[in-house]
Subunit: 457 residues, 4 copies
């Protein structure tokens, strides 16, 4: 089959797409504040003929855009939020463009635009082939705080789909099978009674409560299932030593591989907090921040993606890009241990019989519990690159990132083309999905009463 | 006034009294097991013409014996229980008579007999003077576990009295004003769920619960009133590392200077336990051991005791006794710091304007919250002696202890003689008592449902 | 003896003195930043004929000013630093003049000027009487962080004196005998290794180290002498739950009644930190903040102060001042429990046979270990006033505070007059001082290598 | 190939073998005390013509016995120690033969004799075939404390071998590929200073040290590699609440999947102990109990074992045995959840592409790091049986266990026959072994200075 028209459709918009990605690099916006990015994406989607809804689901920086009609309905998951504190120039040493400012340290500017590229390619394919089928582009806010897609799902998104694609920038061209942790995020506030610390018997220390809750949580570690994790930091922990703190708080993540494990472990953690409140004569209040499902792969979609991957045009890097990737690699601690064979990955990794457990979380997991959904990766960083670092911010603003982005968009559109042409394949993806779920159904981890965060800009 | 008849009455029974004390030294019996001691005391009291009740208040090793009629009714508080693990011969180095066996390390053999001596002296005085008045001798089991007198009080003892005397062996001839800590004693049992420790997520660790309760208790220390104390040891703390312990327990003392402080602090400690149970998914059960009131002095009785003290015949020590005391002093750590001026104390200490807080507890405190009651001390150990040591056991079995014992008995009888002769003095003692209580009333710290321990012999 | 000339000398400058105090009320400056206060004080001292040194001992906001010659050399301890966050208008409800700004919540504007008033009175006395004797006025920065006088002492201050006076504003006219806690203040910084929290085995948590140090410190509480205290707050305690914190720190106060106790306890606390570093594979660095000696009274000086107190003119409050004091009293929690008999204290409290332990600290304690030095208090707040509250800031800016201030200055000058006239009295004060010290000698608690903080304005 | 002679050789000794196993069931001996078992085994080995060394390697209850000459030299690992507290009669409810006494709760009586059976079969095979080759039978003491084989290895055992077989009783006929945890075992003793708990500032609590070490260890859990485990119980934890404990100790297991992980984690745990000693002013002493390597499978040997398994004669159970297995199954908690399809397992489980991580440990791991060595399992318990339970003790004393034992012996001998006939197969096993080791070499985890435990009987 010839899919060149898909590739051509994307590459013809290469400059426009790159411009948007670079504007987002220059204007990084943190979770729930992606006002400009959202506007630029909507503008482009409209230009490309999509029916665009800006701010659906009660979320001002979300997008729902569609083109086409009939089944299969294939979704695309865009993200465009930046990370606090990761501002970086195009220098190959740590050099914030705005000291302390946010930056695209996870390359979500590329992620948003790769998805847009895929949408362009899929529309071109449906248009040319005349096949029935719909493209639904979701602009998903706030992946970095892991709650954007759960809020969207709570308000009705995604369940309309037959299947979905996501892409993320990476140091490798790769397809990974397996799971990643889901999580709950909550802040536990304790309220005690202040007193001069030299007469501390008159006080009830909220800080003691936080410390004892944490001690309890550390004892709990022995009694968690092996892939579960708890981590915390203090949010408020006393003002001056001579004052018994009447307020203190701690921010927790609870991670595990299944929602039921997260729910159960979270309840036990809440009991640690309740126990600490009892021990100290203080009161506890929980500020639930949200939660997300574990991520899952879909072997059927993955096989299709692997099949079409060879069609994705190889990236051609300039001398300058290669030199920059090389310089960035040299700044990575891993470089000391293992000098890489090439500065940017050019191969392709897919191990169909290896099923990995990865510790990290993404709210793509929520979508992956609603419809069959696979995330793919292309190299858009130096080969030793790691997300959430200044080096990755740097690559998100130059040709290394942009080339990976375009290849990612093309790849998703090529894989989608297979599904638009083969209803059985969609059925197989659903069978695989149901088998993997093993009876589990999606229940949004964020309760109804938690309001959707609004832009603070 | 001439009280020589009192002194003579006691000294004429010196040999009999010493024999009983030495039999108790040779046959040490621990708390609630004082079967022989109780029998010997009853036998002697009967011989001396007292009306004896053996085993009153549901306590087989308690005694209530009386002589005389009418007011004032003056009580005497005898004790005769030994301490586990303090067996000792008459050697001046640590040398248990029975390895691991109990011993009179607090000199309660002397305490019981000193009280008997006082009873003899008081009876002789009432007999000779023809004054109205009653002597009530209480044999009080189990002082060393601090609950004997509270059980007796719960069952009705002591409230019949006008006032009471107690004596305790000491390194000094002294009268102390002030307070000592009261306490609660309880064992906290936790019940969890066992599991192989390599799959500890299936288990709920009772040992974790104890450790977290203790951590909570250590944080609580900052928030206790300054004279409060908490201490604990583990009673059960796991069997083998590869088994999650489903049972664990910890034994706590809570001390403070007033019952209300103890009650409040104990409740906060219970909350630490409840909190730990919550944190660990275990269950807590409390085995309440009992409690006692803080000790108190009575300035009016103390002044009378100080007034009559010069009449108490001085002790005359043999060369051998002085040499032994000297040898024992040399085994005390304090000897390194401050060489004492004499091997056994011969002076008298009473500072009527100094009010001391002492950390130790005694169930005499319960009586001291029911009637005016003062404890006096005479030297019955080497001058650097400390209770609950093998050196003190040693002195409890020779002339050093016996001489102090007889002097203690005489002293109490002399002081009682003043009260038998002066009704106003009794009233003054009550005024002082009520002022010190400041409205507090006695509520037995051991709830009705706790059964009285029975002899395990 | 007639001391009216002393009182007249101070009262004739009443308006000038009040103006300076009010300027400092309007321009509160925090510890080590008392640039304006220092300048105004120097200006006034020069005007009154004192030989003034501005910024001695390497401390830009310190003052040393003297008048007269020969012995006795009597020192006066001025302070003029404000407290962060206690800004307040003249309203009788919490109403910051500058939100979040500093304020005279401990009334040090009054303290500085009361001392100046005393200096004027003492000079007038020496001048009129022609007696030998010297007045040394010390402007002492940074009492609120408890290190100003220790730095001054380290650099040679105070040891030139025969004795010294200090005054502090209070809710009562009072002379207190006894001791207050000295302290050490230090920040413990831990440095670990960051990692993604889901792969926390690659990290070493500095936050764990702080928590374990604190757990150790809470266990240490059982093993401290009864009047010792430890308190802490976190300074840095993690950023986001998914990052193992590589930096964390905790700020500790260690208090006790003697330097040797503080030094010993501080070393044990340092060992808790070292232990926590070992346990967590992190590194600890101590930022020692300084320390101060416990405060002490001097019974000889106190008796003299009590003797002259009746000469101090009574304060005459306006209707407005009484109404304000009444309104402020009503805002104090204590008001619910015990309605005061008068809005501002007019009596005088001195109990020559009561020796109190107070929990609070002051760097006046350092001076009190170098020369005999007594602190006196006059009412300069509403009768239920408490230092370090907005109510006290309020009083520091009106007639209530100013009248207390002038009375304080007069009182010190009157007491000094007695010592200028009686060499034996000075000797007695030294005998009392030496007896109280019991062989202890002053060793500045701040090591040589700690630099003196400089103004940050 | 016909291996019937091997099967016949074993089955002809069935009664003798069963008798020995039952004698060991009747006379259970705990770790290092296997005096009778060792004697009975030696007697039998001699009878069967083996050259027997009793008590080699300085271990009185160890055995080294051999038959044959030349390569391949194939080792057999016998164990025969019982477990404390697991005494049981042939009743199908918990019913200790000797209350509190030891029992064959891990079926090591069967294990020893199954190995003897294999030795008989292997000798018969070599004898009949005339092939070169040697059988080395190792009697290995003290598997239950996980140190017997490490001591043997330290003293030179096992390295002479070409490969080795082990068998263990199980609820299933199975071959498992994968790994199990290795471990270190150590008791940490702390020494402090006693004091009356009401004056605890004079004491240094060894119990505090243990608790703080444990708190540190619980914080460490977050920072361990995922398959690592730490567990502990207290050995000594205080006597009475009113005494500051000067002695306390805790017994730790540190488990992980590789020796380097164990060594590293153990050092970090030691640092937790050192840190706790620092925090509490106590001293720590480590009583190292020993350690063992993780267990490993060998795929080449496993494949051979799977190949010959069908030749092993099926067990024929009596009605009585089946009824007993059924009754025992009904006592297992799992029975409530999933009723088994048969009372005793008759199938065979081998999943050549599944590699499992098991939490449990065995000192067979030490041998498995010296030579290629595979452990096989046959059903010798009820199908829901679990080792270290009274149900397994029961089966170890009747036909269920004995039949499994004989089948295990035959199986090992059959597999050995393949290796005696195929030198290349031995080479392949070594290649697999070296690949699995990935460069790791065996270093005995028990230091030279730890003495070999001697029988305490």
């Amino acid at each position: 089959m010839d899919y060149q028209h898909i590739i051509d459709a994307v590459l013809s918009e290469k400059d426009v797409l790159s411009d948007i990605a670079l504007k987002m690099y220059e204007n990084p916006e943190t979770a729930y504040n992606e006002v400009k990015a959202c506007a630029w994406m909507c503008e482009a989607l409209e230009k490309y003929g999509f029916k665009v809804e800006k701010g659906p689901y009660g979320m001002p920086t979300a997008i729902r855009a569609e083109w086409g009609s009939g089944h299969p309905i294939i979704g695309l998951l865009a993200e465009y939020d930046a990370l606090p504190g990761l501002s970086q120039t195009q220098n190959t040493f740590k050099d914030p463009a705005v000291p302390g400012g946010p930056g695209q340290g996870c390359g979500h500017n590329l992620l948003g635009v790769a998805t847009l590229a895929a949408a362009i390619g899929m529309k071109a394919d449906l248009e040319k082939s005349g096949l029935p089928g719909t493209v639904v582009f979701y602009g998903c806010p706030a992946e970095e705080v892991l709650t954007g897609k759960a809020f969207m799902a709570r308000e009705g998104a995604f369940k309309e789909l037959d299947l979905a694609f996501a892409w993320h920038g990476s140091s490798k061209n790769a397809l990974g099978l397996g799971m990643g942790g889901g999580l709950n995020s909550a802040i536990f506030h304790f309220k005690g009674k202040t007193a001069h610390a030299s007469a501390a018997w008159n006080g009830r220390s909220a800080l003691d409560a936080v410390e004892l809750m944490n001690t309890g949580a550390n004892y709990l570690r022995e009694h968690m299932t092996p892939n579960s994790r708890i981590h915390y930091v203090y949010k408020e922990a006393g003002v001056a030593p001579n004052i018994v703190p009447d307020r203190a708080s701690v921010w927790y993540y609870v991670r595990s591989l299944h929602r039921w494990e997260i729910d159960e472990l979270y309840q036990r953690l809440v009991d640690c907090g309740r126990g600490a409140a009892l021990m100290t004569g203080t009161e506890m209040e929980i500020e639930f921040q949200g939660g997300c499902y574990n991520t899952m792969s879909n072997k059927v979609i993955a096989d299709v993606c692997a099949e079409v991957y060879p069609m994705v045009p190889a990236a051609e890097y300039t001398e300058e890009e290669l030199a920059m990737a090389d310089a960035l690699n040299k700044t990575m601690p891993e470089y000391q241990v293992k000098k890489p064979e090439e500065p940017i990955h050019t191969g392709f990794i897919y191990k169909p019989d290896q099923y990995n457990i990865s510790p990290g979380s993404s709210d793509v997991g929520d979508v992956q519990h609603i419809v069959p959904c696979m995330m793919v990766n292309t190299a858009s960083q130096n080969i030793l690159g790691v997300n959430h670092t200044w080096q990755t911010t740097c690559c998100a603003g130059n040709g290394i990132g942009l080339k990976g982005m375009l290849r990612g968009g093309i790849w998703m559109a090529l894989a989608a083309a297979k599904f638009y042409r083969d209803e059985e394949l969609v059925k197989s993806a659903w069978e695989c999905f149901k088998k993997d779920l093993d009876g589990e159904t999606y229940q949004c981890p964020i309760p109804k009463e938690i309001p959707i965060p609004q832009p603070q800009v």
